[in-house]
Structures are given as C-alpha cells and as structure tokens.
C-alpha cells in the first residue's frame, strides 16, 4: 500500500462509510493504538495551517466545481418521470456508473483508482439491492437498500475524534457532504488543549485528496442522493402521515374522549404503547352530575338533579384517529328528592372526539329507583364534567401541520 493510498481509503470510508468509520474509530479508541486516524495523520505529512488548507480548497475546488453541483440538475428527468421508481433509479445508477468509469480525474494515481473502485462498488450494491425489490404502493423497501454509511445515508459525512498519543485529533470529510459550507477535505486535524477545560483548539489540517478526486467523490455522492431524494421524501412523508394519525389518536383519546379520573388514568395505563392509541377504556367509579326525567307520569314529567356514579364499564374507540367512542356502564344514582332513594341502572356513553368543541359528550342512563315500594323508571342525562375542567388545554394546542382532524 502506498503511503498515500491509506489516507485516501480512510477518508473515503469517512465519506461513504460512516458506519465503518465509526466502528474503526471506536475500536481504535478503545484498545489498539495507534489508531487508523493516528496512522493517517502520521503518513499524511506535516499539517498545513488550517486557514491555508481551506484557502487551497477554495481556490482549487470550489471555484472549479462549485462544491457538488457538477451535475446540478442531473437527476431532474428521473424525479419528474411518471415512471419514477425502481426502473428510473436503475437507469440513473447505470449512467452514473459509466460516468465514474470514464472520469479521467480518477485515473491519475493509485489513490484515484482506489476511490473509483469504492464508488463503483457502492453503485453496484445499490443496483443489486434495487433489482431484488418488488415495487409496492408503499414505495421502496428502505430496509433492503440500507447499508450503514452508504451513499444513501443522506448526510454522507463523518466526523471522528480520536487520540494520537497525548494529542487529540479530529477528522472531517465535511466537504463531501456539505456543499456551500466551509469546504474542508481533511484526513485529520490536530487538536491541542485550549484555555477552556475539555475543549481542544485546532492547530492544523491535512489535505487528503486532490481537488479532482474530491470533486469526483462529491459529485457522485451528490448525484446518488439527488436521484433517490424524491423516493426518500415520499417515504418520509408517508411515515409522517402515519405518525400524525397515531398522535392525533392519542389527542382524541386523552383530551377529547370520555374523561378519566386519576384512578381511571392509572388503570387505563396498563399495556399502553405509544405507537397505538388505545381502543378500549375502562370506566371505574366515575361520578357525573345529571338531570333525571321522571317517566312515571308523562303529563307532569319533572326534572330532578342527581349524582350518577358509573361503577364499572367499558368504552370502545373507533376510527384510525379514535374519532368516536361508544360504551356502557353500570350506574348508581342519588337524587336530591326525598321521595327517591338509591337508584340503579345502565348508562350509554357516546361522543365524537373530532366534534368535541361543538357537541359535548353526553351519557344517557336508564335508571330505576325504589320509591314507595314501586320501581320507577327514569331517564338520566349526564355531562362529562371532569373533561370540561381541562377543556382548551392539551396537545390540541400544538399545531401539527398537515395533521388530519379525524
């Protein structure tokens, strides 16, 4: 291996293989001095002053290539194609492979050849993974495409910090992944202790690649990411939509659903999982104020105030966002009327969580009271008072962007 080849491969792995670099850096830091970073620093020669290294890159690279926009709209036909998807991506990757193979900038040195080999290998891996996929309505199977730190990692940039003897070193392949921000192409950057405890200061920088090689890597990674960006965006938007549905479900269940007293909240916490808003809710000893309608004599029906206690019951929520609920409880009732004793019966709970502002939740009870030895039927209408105490608060106050309401 030539003295220059190793730093080149290391830096390339930092660009298109952050996971690999992470493992390397981690292993090196844990046990095996000298680390690869440390060796790279030693082999790469005397560090340039940082300002000088930056200036050299600005002169050599940015003004020539404009930092990764070598093919500024290269992937546009693929993004706009109605046949966008696996076929368009394969066609794009094939064209890109040809471009890398024909790039004279990578043929000038063994280091350039090694870079070209790595670029082609990653392009081939992506093509192979794509060919295995069966198109679905959900889009690409990103799990099949994943390759930790491959070109598809949207921020194909790695930064590693390590120690080299008593000296700290840091490496950044910033240039490759950061068009438009300071264009560093470094194998390693020496860091010395500064006046602030624990915060090192930079003392110098080492260039790793020629400007031409840097352009080839940056342009290829940028083109791959641009090619896949529309597909990635579609997949991300789908994930956000599903998460929005889950979050909205929790909001409806907790804030706009049938209220839960603290003991009910504790009981209903059993078995909860963030990714599934609950579909069932236990009602337990749930008091509510109510108005009772005496049905014994229809001609002179009267309203009685009462306290209902829903002893035990179960409520079910429907809809992906838990937009409505329906349930039943066994209920006991006490009224202000001396003529009526303790009553009992059943209650139907119903409500629409998405219409909570306009339609208050009501519970409808059919109750019987033991009065003067006769069973008397009553209809009870109760309002969810505990929920009203917290109305206007909660996650509904947080804008969710395109969050659906129901």
């Amino acid at each position: 291996m030539t003295p220059l080849l190793f730093p080149a491969l290391l830096a390339l792995s930092l660009v298109i293989g952050p996971g690999l670099a992470a493992a390397q850096a981690s292993e090196a830091a844990d046990a095996q001095p000298p680390s690869e970073l440390c060796r790279a620093l030693a082999e790469a020669g005397t560090p340039l002053p940082l300002e000088e290294a930056e200036q050299k890159l600005v002169d050599d690279v940015l003004r020539a290539d404009v930092g990764g926009t070598r093919w500024p709209d290269w992937a546009a036909p693929y993004r706009q194609s109605p046949a966008r998807g696996t076929y368009a991506l394969l066609r794009g990757l094939a064209e890109l492979t040809q471009a890398v193979e024909g790039d004279p900038g990578l043929d000038a040195s063994p280091r350039g050849a090694a870079i070209e080999t790595r670029l082609r290998a990653e392009l081939t891996r992506l093509q192979t993974a794509l060919e295995k996929q069966t198109p679905t309505r959900e889009g690409l199977d990103w799990k099949q495409l994943e390759h930790d730190g491959g070109m598809l990692a949207p921020f194909a940039k790695s930064s590693a910090h390590d120690t080299c003897g008593d000296e700290q070193v840091a490496s950044d392949a910033v240039f490759f992944a950061r068009p438009g921000v300071p264009p560093l192409v470094l194998v390693a950057q020496a860091m010395a202790p500064s006046v602030i405890p624990g915060v090192p200061a930079s003392t110098g920088a080492v260039l790793y690649a020629s400007a031409r090689e840097a352009m080839a890597v940056r342009a290829t990674v940028g083109a791959v990411q641009t090619l896949f960006s529309a597909e990635r965006q579609q997949a991300l938007d789908g994930a956000v939509a599903r998460l929005t549905t889950i979050s909205r479900g929790w909001t409806h269940y907790l804030e706009h659903g049938y209220s839960q007293y603290p003991w009910e909240a504790a009981l209903n916490s059993v078995g909860t999982s963030w990714s599934r808003a609950p579909r069932l809710q236990i009602v337990l000893i749930h008091p509510e104020p109510a108005a009772l309608l005496d049905l014994r004599e229809a001609k002179r029906s009267v309203l009685e105030g009462a306290l209902l206690v829903h002893g035990a019951g179960l409520i079910g929520y429907g809809g992906d966002t838990r937009s409505w609920f329906l349930g039943a409880s066994a209920t006991a009732a006490v009224t202000t009327s001396r003529a009526l004793g303790l009553g009992g019966g059943g209650t139907l709970h119903l409500g629409h969580t998405a219409l909570r502002a306009r339609v208050p939740h009501v519970s409808l009870s059919v109750l019987a009271f033991a009065t003067r030895g006769k069973k008397a039927p009553f209809i009870g209408l109760s309002v969810d008072l505990w929920r009203l105490l917290g109305s206007g608060l909660g996650t509904s106050a947080i804008p969710h962007g395109a969050q659906p309401d129901a």
Binding site: A25, S26, H161, T163, G198
Partner: protein, 355 residues
C-alpha cells in the same frame, strides 16, 4: 442554501407556544458570531444560510392533567382515591407541604412525575414528539438540509431519548426510512441529562423491549451497531441538582464519540439549570457549535481565550450551598432508583429554588 437543522426539546413547565425556543436560538447564534467566519454574518444571515431550528414541544400533554388534577388536589392526597400507589404517596406528600412547595410541584415537578409514573401520559408524549421529530426530519430532507442535531434539556432529555428509541424501532410505522442507516443524527446534546433518572422501569412499548430503552445500551449510544447518532454530548453543571441522582455517566462509551461536559461557573444558583445559562458557557457552546457547523476547528486560540475570559468574569462563582440539603434525599447512594414520592419531593424542592 443547505443548512444544519437544530432540534430543540424543552424541559418541565409550561412553554409559550410561539416563542419558548427563541432565547435558545438567540443564545446559540450569539455564541456562533463570536468565531470567524461567522463573526462577519448577521443573525439573519446565519439563520438563512447556515442554521435552521425545529422546536419540539410536548408540555401541552401535561397541561391537560395539570388543570384537572390540581383542581382535585385535596382528593388526590387521599390514598383511597388513586389506584397507583406511587402517585398516591406523591400527592399525599405534596398536600402536606407549604404553598411555595405546592406551587413548585404543580407548575414544574408534576410533568416529570407524570412522565415517570403514568404510562399513558408517557405514551402520549412519546407519540406527539415522534410525530414532530419525523416532520422536522422530513422538512430537512425536503429542503436539502445537511444534518440533524438535537439539543434536549432536562425532562426533554428523557423524553427525546425514549421518543427516538421508539421511533427507530417502529419499522411498521416508518417502513425503514427512519432507520439509522437511512437517517441519522450528526449529534445529540443532552443538557442536564435525566434519561437515567426518569427511565422507564416496566415495558412501555409493544415494539421495543425494556432493555432497548436502557439509556446506556439504547440506539442513542454513539458508535455502536444500529446507533442513530454520530456524536453524543452530555452536559451538566456541577451544582445543578437535577443532574445529581442517577447521573448519566457511561463508562464504556467510546471517548471518540461521547463527551461528558461538566461546567462549574455561574452567577446565581437559581440559574444553573436554565438552558440559556448552559449555552452561554463556551465549554458547552464551542464543542456543540463545532458539531453543528461541521468545523472541528471552530475558534482560533485568541477567540477562545476571549470568550472564555468574558464568560468567567460574568460568571465568577464556582461553589454554592443552595442545594446542599437535597443530597440527603437520596442519601449516599446516588445510583438508587427513586420511588415516585421521592422523585416528587426531590424535584419539588429543587424547582422551588430554581424557579
């Protein structure tokens, strides 16, 4: 222009919906403008060309509980009323305290107690945060952002830890697009890290096991297979009492990817837990900004010396007994798991001084 995306996550208490994060943003930009080449840029230019901010808010989940439960605080103190014994003990203790302590509990400590002890609140917060995180990441990809960085504070460190662990594990929700191989954080900075203090002690996720939520072994551990972040900074002030019990201090994380930043200087003990107070310290903002702007060498020696001298002269104190009595609450064993009542008492007494 391609920008780095900085996600903010708040701690306990109520936060103004529109602007709770602006002081954090301004502190960060002010700090960045002390170093070349950003000293030549205006705050607007920095925000337009280099940094984008994504506030993550979840306090509203606790607001619903706060209003209802505080209205029944007397009843909550009755052991017979609450089925969950830990919460009952906590509310009994609160009811016996003076007005200042009760206010500190209901305005601040309640959030952490609910997150710790009431799984349905924890799940709702996790779902809300996961949605906002994914929406922020999607926006970043859409606009060609160059990297994602998270800064979480206090309770927010535990919340974001769990939200990110759960989100990455939820393959059936994101179909792989949020796996670390596809989308990863360039840095995660936990300020006043409570992820161990407030960790879940029983299963909270149908798709991820409890060990996956262990803060020392989770997908937030940098450098490990399946990690979602390249770098992890844990920041604490030595007299910030919130960081004392079950302090976050992994012993086997790679020093090349994990940094434990301990600060000492302050001007007022009541400020030591504030995020802006943390961010003003060059010990905190310099390594953080180096990650965010992607320049390991940010700051010349002269610049660093200047900001450090300025900070120390404005924050001359390094010792205080303001929180000394709090240590007796967990005795000599800082690693001991606190029960709900102990946690409520510890946080309430701490926030009475800090707020």
């Amino acid at each position: 222009m391609a920008r780095s995306y900085v996600f903010f996550a708040h701690g306990v208490g109520t936060h103004a919906p529109a602007d709770w994060w602006l002081s954090w943003k301004e502190t960060l930009i002010t700090a960045l403008r002390r170093f070349a080449p950003y000293d030549a840029l205006s705050p607007d230019e920095i925000e337009r060309e280099h940094l984008a901010f994504v506030p993550i808010r979840y306090d509203a989940v606790f607001e619903g509980y706060r209003k209802r439960w505080q209205s029944a605080s007397r009843a909550l103190a009755d052991h017979d009323v609450i089925a969950q014994a830990g919460l009952a003990d906590a509310f009994t203790w609160v009811a016996a305290q003076d007005g200042a302590l009760q206010r500190a509990f209901w305005s601040h400590a309640l959030d952490a107690v609910l997150w710790y002890a009431l799984p349905q609140a924890r799940a709702a917060v996790q779902a809300l945060v996961a949605q906002q995180v994914a929406a922020g990441l999607a926006d970043m990809v859409r606009s060609g952002g160059t990297g994602a960085h998270l800064i979480a504070h206090s309770l927010g460190t535990s919340v974001l830890h769990d939200a990110l662990v759960g989100l990455v594990a939820a393959d059936d929700v994101h179909h792989g697009v949020l796996r670390p191989a596809q989308l990863r954080w360039q840095s995660i900075t936990m300020v006043a890290n409570t992820s161990r203090l407030l960790k879940a002690w029983r299963d909270i996720d149908a798709q991820a096991s409890l060990p996956q939520y262990d803060p020392y072994r989770s997908s937030l551990c940098p450098g490990r297979e399946g990690s979602i972040t390249d770098m992890y900074l844990s920041v604490r002030h030595q007299i910030d009492p919130i960081t004392w019990p079950r302090r976050f201090a992994p012993v086997d994380w790679s020093p090349s990817r994990y940094s434990d930043v301990m600060t000492m200087h302050f001007r007022n003990p009541a400020e030591v837990h504030d995020l802006t107070h943390y961010l003003e310290n060059p010990q905190v903002h310099l390594p953080l900004l180096r990650l965010v702007v992607g320049r390991a060498g940010l700051g010349t020696s002269a610049e660093i010396r200047r900001v450090w001298d300025q900070f120390r002269s404005a924050h001359p104190l390094t010792a205080s007994t303001a929180f000394a009595d709090l240590k007796r609450l967990f005795g000599d064993d800082g690693e001991r798991r606190l029960d709900v009542r102990e946690l409520a008492e510890f946080l309430t007494r701490a926030y009475r001084v800090l707020t």
